[in-house]
Amino acid sequence: MKKNIILLFVFILTGMFSLSAYATQESIVREQYEIQARINKIGYRLLNSARIENRATFQYNGKNIVGTNTKSGLFQPRRITIYRGILTHCESDDEIAAVLAHEISHIDDSYKGVFRGSLHGYTKSYSPRKYVYKADKRAVDFMADAGYDPLALIVILNKISDQYRFEITGTPFASKRMVAIYEYIYRNYPVYLAKNSYKNNVFYQNFLLTSATQRAKLQEKLKDEGIIPVSNQKGR
């Protein structure tokens, strides 16, 4: 009798373990499904709003890497992989949109050039800085078209981009990139700066703190050029 009771106990215990394991797996799948759905929704909204007639796909990867992987080389599938590590830094859809918009620009570029853009990766490898700056600018356009706040690009860059000592990694300094984005927003979409929804955001505040010198230089530069925001100009 005792044996039977013990066996029954073991049986119930095993069942509970397997159920909990199943539930855990189910919750992981559900979480992945929700994140993937969110990324797809934002990604395709960007593609449609910016009227990008070239295809791109989006994939979520559970690895804890703070970054993305855009496969747009010669035999690669033009897919944007966004890792869990970078998503942990994104606090809103605007910030996810910022990450995706930058990568979409790289994908869009990969369609241009001879042999269906086969040699684009080759050209890009000689001047990565130019293409990074270009992707940042395009990202701002895509975000504004899709109704996202382009200042989110500065915020997410401030969180995830490391500041190297020298520009030897091919990509420009994060600080330079942020100021370039700021300048681009100022020239093309000044309303986002005037009605700044990130005004109280600590990361944006940090950008204002760290970019004070560069912004002062920018102010002088624009003064010298006699530039007032484009949207306020009358004629040319």
């Binding site: 073991v10 394991a21 709003s49 309303v191 009605k195 109280n200 050029e225």
Partner: protein, 245 residues
């Protein structure tokens, strides 16, 4: 009976192992934060009040330190504040409400009389004027006469670079002003954009450099400073944008 029971127990144990494999453990957390939770709870339990600090002048010192590191006031963007009177506070309308099922598009052929090139460093963000090439029939019987002005904007300019990397330019935001029945002018957004890229010289610059490195000692390196071509729109060049009712 014993054999059946033994078999049953074995099955239970086996199923336990199989299902346990499905659990995914975060190795990184296990490795680095092992015992962290216990430590934090222990810390709470073993918190000891510093009676000396409470009763001494250090308490007031600590408080003054705290005051010093209180969050500072918000950093104002003086640059934007200075430019505020010049800023256009009209938010661009999002374009994601487009009707992609509507295939009815009315092509409008346009050209510009100006020579637009990325050599002009101030080109980015400039307004451009295009003109219709010919009469265009729009829905509702409207006729768009030739030489009608169409406004556009140089949305993005990416300058050329060494290694023969070309410049890029995108002209977008085409708008057309049409007189409505109430004689008020309505601005219509037109579909389409002009994307221009300069001559891509990297296709031959890199092979020359590479080949020279294998033959003559890096003689081909002299071609590295060669820049790619500028993107340009020539006067009279015909482009097509679309009117979508």
């Amino acid at each position: 009976m014993k054999k059946i029971l033994l078999f049953f127990v074995l099955m239970c144990v086996l199923s336990l192992q199989v299902n346990a494999k499905q659990l995914i453990y975060d190795d990184f957390v296990n490795l680095t934060l092992k015992g962290y939770a216990e430590k934090t709870t222990q810390k709470k339990e073993t918190d000891i009040e510093d009676e000396f600090l409470d009763s001494s002048f250090y308490k007031s010192y600590a408080n003054s330190k705290k005051d010093k590191y209180k969050p500072q006031s918000l950093i104002e963007d003086s640059f934007v504040a200075a430019a505020l009177p010049y800023l256009n506070l009209e938010k661009p309308a999002p374009k994601f409400h487009a009707n992609f099922e509507n295939y009815k598009k009315y092509p409008i052929k346009i050209h510009t009389p100006e020579y637009i090139t990325t050599k002009n460093k101030k080109l980015q963000g400039q307004k451009l004027r295009f003109y219709t090439m010919e009469e265009t029939y729009l829905p509702d019987g409207q006729i768009l006469p030739a030489n009608t002005e169409i406004n556009a904007k140089v949305e993005m300019v990416s300058q050329n670079n060494v290694w023969g990397v070309p410049a890029d330019m995108i002209v977008n935001n085409f708008t057309l002003e049409l007189a409505s029945k109430r004689s008020k002018k309505i601005v219509h957004n037109l579909e389409g954009r002009i994307e221009k890229t300069g001559a891509n010289r990297s296709y031959w610059v890199y092979p020359i450099v590479e080949a020279s490195c294998w033959t003559v000692f890096c003689a081909g390196a002299v071609v590295i400073p060669i820049r790619g071509g500028h993107a340009k729109i020539k006067p009279g060049e015909v482009h097509t944008v679309y009117y979508q009712p």
